[in-house]
């Protein structure tokens, strides 16, 4: 009998397994697929050309994975943040760096200064917010002196920002990224450059209020990326969890979380076996956990409603393209580029969002690209997130999306079509099938103002424990969400240990 049974062997599941095993728990992790890693697992498209997973990056929340000492398992962290190229063709690209330095060569001085000021405001604001957001969300109803003291401490550190910054932070958080970008910048590309992180995992367009909250959350929490991307992170986490004694099982699909009068008693695995455990930590999304894995008759009051209304409307398809040679991007002026966003103004993003909003494929998509080369001199793998793609597609939808991706790449890098070695396109429905993601939503539910932090996935479950005794949530459906792998798993494991 295990102390804890973890459902799902993605980054969150593995991080939780390692954390719990270190705390002395006997851990059994069940992964449905044949390999660990979930969305961060790589797959070979062509000989020597493997993806870094279906995500665009694998940057865990800052500091949260430190205690796992993954460096001991061979992981190396990058110190640089690859700049983002904003371009939709061969010319007029803007290479946006997190550090404002290189922006002075590309922008008029006044605009570069505004960008520098904006970056330093973000840096000022995010440090007190970070402390709050790298912990379990607070209990609003607590009367416990310890909890109240912690809350007061956070409130005080926010106030230390001073009137002006604090007002500004509170003003901006519920805003639309379109409005904020227009307040600050005049360059359409720069406005568009700050939007992708604000829109990641939402049906919202840039004009939707609350998109700034997603952006601030991401700015506050995004940590360094590992060399080798998702697969390297998965390998290190796997080694770490195993070293600490966690049992990691693949090809073990959880079919039901078994309950009795006292709460969780175990997990039934496909094939009929039962893994007995008084505690289950599910890294499956909220809807799948509550609606597919728990007997509906045993769900507590309102839990079914909460899970049913959990918003998970997909807007993104994943297209992997293996190229025989690394793509040249003239818009970057010869500089090496790993990240590209094809939206050169906010209007394009707004229009793309209008498609899925009305339940149809957007007439024009925009894409984010991640380019990596497995080795010096080798070909390259381009992973694209094509936005404006709903769950329900007409016949031939997958082909349409793939064709858009190839055309997009061809616009950015003429001739790339002729160098395609292999492609792999996953619509939201494919992602649902492959990864068990309800609605095919890459982040386990939309990142939208009412589904963040305290409300992710519902007030009653946002502190990782659920109203079902012994059942914890530790996937992208809980804070800090699906864009920052590992964070939810670690925080859930900590919540479980602290009881």
């Amino acid at each position: 009998m295990a102390d804890v049974c973890i459902l799902g062997g993605g980054v969150n599941g593995l991080a939780a397994a390692a954390t719990l095993a270190k705390a002395g728990r006997r851990v059994t992790l069940l992964e449905a697929r044949g390999a660990l890693g979930g969305l961060a697992a790589g797959e070979e498209l062509a000989p020597g050309l493997s993806t870094f997973g279906d995500r665009l990056d694998a940057a865990p929340p800052v500091g949260l994975l430190d205690e796992l000492e993954l460096e001991r398992h061979g992981l190396r962290w990058r110190d640089d943040v690859p700049p983002l190229l904003v371009a939709d063709g061969e010319a007029d690209g803007l290479l946006v760096h997190a550090e404002p330095g290189p922006m002075w060569e590309q922008l008029p001085a006044a605009e570069a200064q505004r960008y520098a000021d904006w970056r330093s405001a973000l840096a000022r604001w995010t440090s007190p917010v970070r402390a709050l957001l790298t912990e379990r969300p607070p209990d609003l109803k607590t009367r416990a002196p310890g909890e109240l003291f912690a809350l007061a401490k956070h409130a005080l550190s926010l106030r230390r920002l001073g009137d002006r910054d604090m007002h500004e932070l509170m003003r901006v958080a519920p805003m639309a990224v379109h409005d904020w970008a227009h307040e600050i910048f005049t360059d359409a590309r720069l406005r568009a450059a700050i939007a992708p992180r604000a829109l990641a995992g939402t049906t919202a367009g840039p004009r939707s209020p609350g998109t700034c909250a997603s952006l601030l959350l991401d700015e506050a929490l995004r940590g360094r990326e590992p060399f080798g991307g998702g697969p390297a992170l998965v390998a290190a986490l796997t080694a770490c969890a195993r070293e600490r004694g966690a049992e990691l099982r693949t090809d073990a699909r959880a079919e039901e979380i078994l309950l009795d009068a006292d709460g969780v008693r175990g997990v039934r695995v496909a094939g009929g076996e039962t893994v007995e455990a008084r505690t289950v930590l599910s890294t499956a999304d909220f809807a799948t956990t509550m609606l597919a894995l728990v007997d509906p008759a045993q769900l507590p009051d309102r839990m079914e409603t909460a899970a049913r209304v959990w918003k998970r409307r997909a807007t993104t398809a994943v297209v992997h393209i293996a190229l025989e040679a690394a793509p040249e991007l003239p818009a970057a002026g010869g500089r090496p580029v790993e990240r590209v966003s094809s939206a050169t103004d906010l209007r394009a993003m707004e229009r793309a969002a209008d498609g899925p909003k009305h339940g149809r494929l957007a007439e024009n998509s925009w894409s984010e690209l991640r380019i990596h080369r497995p080795a010096e001199g080798s070909g390259a793998v381009v992973t694209m997130h094509v936005h404006g793609v709903p769950y329900a597609l007409p016949e031939g939808g997958r082909e349409t999306v793939e064709e858009r991706a190839l055309a997009q790449l061809e616009r950015l890098s003429p001739g790339s079509r002729g160098r395609v070695a292999a492609t792999r396109t996953k619509t939201p429905a494919d992602l649902e099938r492959e990864h068990g993601l309800a609605g095919g939503h890459l982040f386990h539910g939309e990142h939208i103002l009412d589904q963040l932090w305290l409300q992710r996935p519902a007030l009653s479950c946002s502190r990782y424990a659920t109203p079902i005794s012994g059942l914890y949530l530790g996937g992208g459906s809980v804070h800090p969400g699906g864009a920052l792998p590992g964070g939810a798993g670690i925080l859930a494991a900590r919540a479980l240990v602290s009881g």
């Binding site: 609003l140 009137d163 002006r164 509170m170 901006v172 519920p174 919202a204 209020p209 519902a458």
Partner: protein, 529 residues
């Protein structure tokens, strides 16, 4: 030269309410109104002989009961006639009508969904409970979370305490209301589009947002604050049009000793040594006062009347970025007869309001047009026929029809000429509205005797509403409470000493509420606190 205790710039309902409270406290007050009629956007005018329009705002919902009592408005002629129903027609079928009578409403809704019919009263109850929580917020100045003053801290602690005293479901709903879109919130409760659509629109009134935009659920809640006494009780017409509200407040102010001048357009607010000292009228006349109050919106007040030279730079920056983005227009019609909607006999369903909101997707598409800088081809229209309840506004047998129309974005697309292109689009906009109604009520267009079309451009030109925003600035989360109209300046004071803001651009915002004006007066009378 006479020195007034206070001069109020703008004779809208808030400016008048402020003046009435000041006069009641014994102050010598002068109100200056640019137009020939009082009321600002709460105004009744006989635009065509025999037909009196509530030209801009058209229903009375949130007028604070304590203001009605304090100023004895009933004594000064205020009569509110409750709206009796809310009808949303559809192209197919007979549409949905919600009645003051709950049983009748249940029957109507259950034609579409039994489930919705059962949940509808429950939802109303939940929202009313939420409204009870929000009510103290709109009846007092907004606390500032960055402040260390005991006053703010106590207010904040009370708010925190309130959270702890609420049951978990109520707490969850409260958080959702603050963050969700109105359509998403309704999706959690109901299944029938015909019910959700007309309910969701109350979240977008006056904003450049769609029913699927987060933050709109909170605005929807405002709608329920007007329904505290039960179904449709305190939503109503003022007899004689919404101008009658302003006139009653003006009469109260005069009764308490205030002086009111119309056709007295202010050119400048005089500032000397960082302190307001009076105003100059357009004709050059100078008037002195110990304190100056503006009932106009923040941009007109600070950048128009005061001038940036008298203001700190960071305040100017905040005033400049305060968003208006008017998104609505108004079409006022004189009718030969009431329109007839297929499947609905008689005219009982026209004694309330009528919402052209046949579906959530329809509304969201209307917003899509506006995002591209066009008025909606198929807009959301909120219609009332005040003449069905108030014979004073139309000749016998004839009717007035007031159409509030969204979206009509102030910022028209460049190819349409931007905001200044509106005069050329005015009639096309009016046609789109009439055509949309015609589709629902065939033969309607033949009944039109006169038509007045007000675009956001007209609202700015004629009523001084910046960018045509009916609420003196969008009611969006980042422009509410302690951020309205600028961080640190939500308590009606301004960076100019002795200058106060009493319009809808101050907390708690727009609508015929009277709260900003009255709370401003109270802050002034509270003195040096």
């Amino acid at each position: 030269m006479q020195t007034w205790d206070a001069i109020v710039v703008g004779g809208g309902h808030n400016g008048l309410a402020c003046a009435a409270y000041l006069a009641k406290a014994g102050k010598k007050v002068l109100v200056l109104e640019r137009r020939h009629v009082l009321g600002g956007a709460a105004v009744s005018e006989e635009v065509f002989p025999g037909f009196t329009y509530s030209v801009c705002s058209y229903v009375v919902s949130l007028l604070r009961p304590w203001i009605i009592r304090d100023l004895e408005l009933a004594r000064f002629g205020l009569q509110l006639i409750p709206l009796e129903s809310s009808f949303s027609p559809s192209r197919e079928g007979t549409g949905l009508c919600r009645w003051a009578d709950a049983a009748r409403t249940r029957d109507e809704i259950s034609r579409f969904s039994r489930n919705d019919a059962e949940l509808y009263p429950e939802f109303g109850l939940a929202m009313m409970q939420m409204a009870r929580f929000a009510k103290p917020v709109i009846d007092a100045p907004a606390p500032d979370p960055s402040s260390f003053s005991p006053r703010d801290l106590i207010q904040l602690l009370r708010l925190g305490n309130h959270f702890q005293d609420t049951d978990p479901d109520g707490l969850a709903l409260r958080l959702k209301l603050m963050t969700m879109s109105s359509a998403d919130l309704l999706d959690e409760w109901f299944e029938s589009d015909v019910l959700k659509a007309p309910m969701s629109v109350s979240g977008i009134i006056g904003t450049m947002l769609g029913v699927r935009s987060p933050g709109t659920a909170y605005v929807m809640l405002h709608h329920y604050m007007g329904e505290i006494d039960g179904a449709f009780r305190s939503w109503g017409f003022a007899r004689g049009g919404t101008g009658a509200v302003s006139c009653a407040i003006a009469d109260a102010a005069r009764h308490f000793g205030a002086t009111i001048r119309t056709e007295a357009p202010v050119d400048k607010i005089l500032v000397s040594g960082g302190q307001a000292t009076g105003v100059v009228l357009k004709d050059g006349e100078e008037l002195r006062a110990r304190e100056v109050v503006s009932g106009c919106d923040p941009r007109l007040t600070f950048l128009g009347f005061v001038g940036r030279d008298h203001l700190p730079d960071d305040f100017v920056q905040q005033v400049e970025r305060f968003r208006y983005r008017g998104s609505s227009g108004k079409v006022n019609l004189a009718l030969d007869r009431l329109p007839s909607f297929p499947g609905r006999e008689g005219f009982e369903h026209l004694r309330g309001d009528l919402a052209v909101a046949p579906g959530v997707d329809y509304l969201e598409s209307a917003y899509d047009d506006a995002k591209e800088g066009r008025f909606s081809k198929h807009p959301y229209i909120n219609i009332v026929f005040p003449s069905t309840c108030d014979p004073s506004v139309a000749p016998p047998g004839k009717h007035v029809m007031s159409c509030f129309v969204q979206y009509a974005p102030y910022e028209l697309a460049e190819e349409l000429g931007g905001p200044a292109g509106w005069p050329d689009q005015r009639e096309a906009f009016g046609d789109a509205v009439c055509d949309t109604v015609e589709e629902l009520a065939p033969g309607f267009k033949d009944s039109i005797l006169h038509r007045q079309v007000l675009t956001p451009w007209d609202l700015e030109q004629e009523f001084g509403l910046t960018e045509g925003n009916i609420f003196h600035g969008e009611l969006s989360l980042e422009q509410l409470a302690f951020l309205r109209p600028a961080a640190g300046w939500s308590r009606y004071r301004t960076p100019v000493k002795k200058l106060w803001l009493a319009g809808s651009g101050a907390h708690p915002g727009g609508g015929i509420m009277g709260a900003p004006g009255a709370l401003c007066a109270k802050a002034m009378l509270g003195g040096a606190r």
